[in-house]
């Protein structure tokens, strides 16, 4: 199904809002107002393109920590995200138990993930198995960094999904680095998609700076999965425009020239130019969106600052499901 003009505009809005929110998180960190941030800057086009190919409220998302734009698209509010940055009560991923960007949103079928990389991949296949056993036509989108595809967990998850023809889309967000370690020291192939071939699946590569290319590839994979044609592995090639996290100094492993070169391919700028060129947005409309995003982010930060912290003793529960007080 081709994307409507309105939907495309909405996708651009999510990209822009996520970017401005993400940038402010870095500022909050520099101001000493939050302890940690891990960023999705540079990866938003792939994230938004992919997540718009699944159906909100029906399909499943099993994300990783860079997927802010995906999770915003799935309905997490900026206020909720900033609350999670600050460890405030009522943030919806974990009740402030997890570090920021360890996403979860039960109301939108976004599964909780942990910090050990690749642990989420088998869960996506397990959900896929559940869907197949129940005869449903939902699909699961799961994401991972290229470095984490070195883990056995990822191979095992793809292998199982391939054996049982499960409706799972494995999206690899290849930003070229795993903290400091470049792709060449992570795999002997040029793309994580190539690894899929050994597991019986075609590997698909897309330009991750181009939202609609990613959308098209994932939409096709989703259509296949819904029709019982099984899983897909898709690698989106992109670039991490920030250090790994607020604790990282990327000057030790990549030159400023390299980063500057990639900033020219910043997906937000690439998409903005494309939208204006294709008449999907005027320069004026873009400035209005910028204003709106700034306002939303300002409000989110104000609200989150006002929100209370959880009480220390709230940490005592819920360990076992019998204890739960109807969340």
């Amino acid at each position: 199904m081709p994307l409507s003009r309105e939907l495309k505009q909405e996708m651009f809005w999510i990209m822009l809002l996520s970017r401005r929110l993400d940038e402010r998180a870095w500022v909050l960190h520099r101001q000493g107002k939050i302890a940690f941030h891990i960023s999705g800057i540079g990866q938003e086009a792939a994230q938004v393109g992919a997540v718009y190919a699944i159906e909100k409220g029906k399909d499943w998302l099993v994300p990783y920590y860079r997927d802010l734009a995906m999770v915003i698209a799935m309905g997490m509010s900026p206020t909720e995200f900033v609350k999670s940055l600050m460890g405030k009560a009522g943030e919806p991923t974990s009740g402030a138990r997890q570090m920021p960007s360890h996403f979860s949103l039960r109301r939108a079928n976004v599964l909780s993930h942990s910090a050990p990389v690749a642990t989420q991949s088998p869960h996506a296949s397990g959900i896929g198995l559940g869907i197949k056993l129940d005869g449903g036509d939902e699909v699961v989108l799961t994401t991972i960094g290229e470095g984490a595809t070195s883990q056995g967990e990822w191979y095992e998850a793809v292998n199982f999904a391939a054996i049982h023809n499960l409706p799972v889309i494995f999206l690899v967000e290849n930003n070229r680095y795993a903290i400091s370690v470049p792709q060449e020291k992570q795999m002997a192939v040029s793309s994580a998609a190539d690894k899929a071939c050994g597991l019986g699946l075609p590997g698909i590569e897309v330009d991750g700076t181009h939202m609609f290319e990613v959308y098209d590839a994932v939409a096709e994979a989703v259509a296949n999965a819904r029709q019982g044609k099984g899983p897909s592995v898709i690698e989106a090639k992109l670039y991490r425009l920030t250090p790994h996290s607020s604790d990282d100094d990327d000057r030790s492993y990549r030159t400023r020239e390299e980063v500057e070169e990639h900033k020219k391919q910043d997906p937000l700028i690439v998409m903005k130019d494309l939208f204006i060129e294709q008449g999907l947005m005027t320069e004026e409309a873009y400035h209005e969106l910028e204003e709106k995003a700034k306002k939303r982010v300002d409000e989110a930060i104000e609200e989150a600052i006002r929100a209370p912290y959880p009480k220390g003793k709230e940490a005592a529960t819920p360990v076992y499901a019998e204890e739960v007080r109807n969340v």
């Binding site: 909780s112 642990t119 397990g126 959900i127 056993l133 819920p318 499901a321 739960v324 969340v327």
Partner: protein, 329 residues
């Protein structure tokens, strides 16, 4: 009531749970046409089909990781690890994921799953088909750890485990699979044994032996043997190792004033240390003797050659000796 083996009790529990709830499924290596290497799933593949009795790839993290995903989706997986010795490839999924999912999502996502694994030595299995791995899991909140010692409990506890909304590790004493027989209600499909409480399985006055699984079976034999010598032993079957049933442990020590803990897993840092600490912390005033532990020696695992395996393994005679020793204190 009819007398059946441990492994048959376990098979029946799975059969009845598969029949009761269509969300229940079994996944593991060779659980399908082969019916499991110990025959715990015999006949289930034929009865419920390949979608509900799934032969997994030879990969334990797959078995558990897939189980977790299916569980959060709403299914009720029973994951079989062929030998407890091979659970370690799935360790990360159990510790980082299954145990923490509920807490880390503030109760949004629960993982109702069972991980079954045969454990224990005395079967000529050498280092890697004999281990007792419970202590790796009995310090992990979010998990429940269950070890039955007889067919009645095995069936009743496994049914409770399948119905439990949390991840339950269910370790089965493989030496007892066919050796231990017992009465199990034939027609009462609704009987279960609750996860949590330990059980006083033999009343006595002189001292208490705390044990579980195969060692509980042996402890009962040892208690009978020393009874002839006039030593009146109480035996407590711990059954659910985690969460710990402190009340039953402390009540028994209050009564007998002496405690011996028996397990075949290595001594140091083993489950007995927790029981001993529980008694030291809350039952100290009731003690007439130091708490004793009889456990597997601190070598990496059970050796293959028979004399060396005998040296490693706890048996009823070794337990009887430890009882005599403690009784004489």
């Amino acid at each position: 009531m009819s007398e059946i083996t441990m492994v048959e009790a376990i098979r029946q529990a799975m059969d009845e749970e598969l029949a009761r709830d269509e969300n229940v499924f079994v996944i593991g290596e060779d659980v399908g046409v082969r019916g499991g290497v110990f025959r715990a799933t015999q006949g289930l593949f034929e009865k419920y089909g390949e979608d509900r009795v799934i032969d997994s790839p030879l990969a334990e993290l797959t078995i558990v990781g897939i189980g977790i995903g299916a569980a959060v989706y709403g299914k009720r997986p029973i994951c079989e690890i062929q030998f407890a010795d091979f659970i370690f490839p799935a360790f990360n999924q159990i510790i980082s994921e299954a145990a923490k999912m509920f807490y880390r999502s503030n109760g949004q996502w629960s993982v109702p799953m069972v991980i079954r694994a045969p454990y224990g030595g005395g079967i000529g299995g050498g280092l890697y088909h004999s281990q007792s791995v419970e202590a790796f899991f009995t310090q992990v909140p979010g998990l429940k750890v269950v070890i039955p010692s007889n067919p009645y409990d095995a069936k009743g506890l496994l049914k409770s485990a399948v119905r439990d909304p949390n991840p339950v590790l269910f370790f089965e004493p493989k030496k007892g699979y066919r050796l231990i027989k017992g009465e199990v209600p034939e027609d009462d499909k609704e009987y279960t044994v609750p996860i949590g409480p330990a059980k006083v399985t033999r009343e006595g006055q002189d001292l208490t032996v705390f044990a579980y699984g195969m060692m509980h079976h042996y402890a009962m034999g040892a208690a009978e043997a020393v009874a002839k010598e006039g030593i009146d032993v109480e035996v407590v079957d711990l059954r659910t190792l985690y969460p710990v049933d402190r009340e039953t442990i402390l009540a028994s020590v209050q009564k007998t004033s002496k405690a011996l803990i028996v397990h075949e897993a290595n001594l140091t840092g083993g489950y007995g240390a927790e029981v001993a600490a529980t008694i030291a912390e809350w039952g100290f005033m009731n003690l007439d003797a130091p708490v004793r532990r009889l456990a597997g020696p601190d070598v990496p695992a059970v050796p293959f050659s028979h004399p060396m395996e005998e040296w490693f393994m706890i048996n009823p005679e070794k337990i009887a000796d430890a009882i005599r020793d403690l009784a004489a204190f």
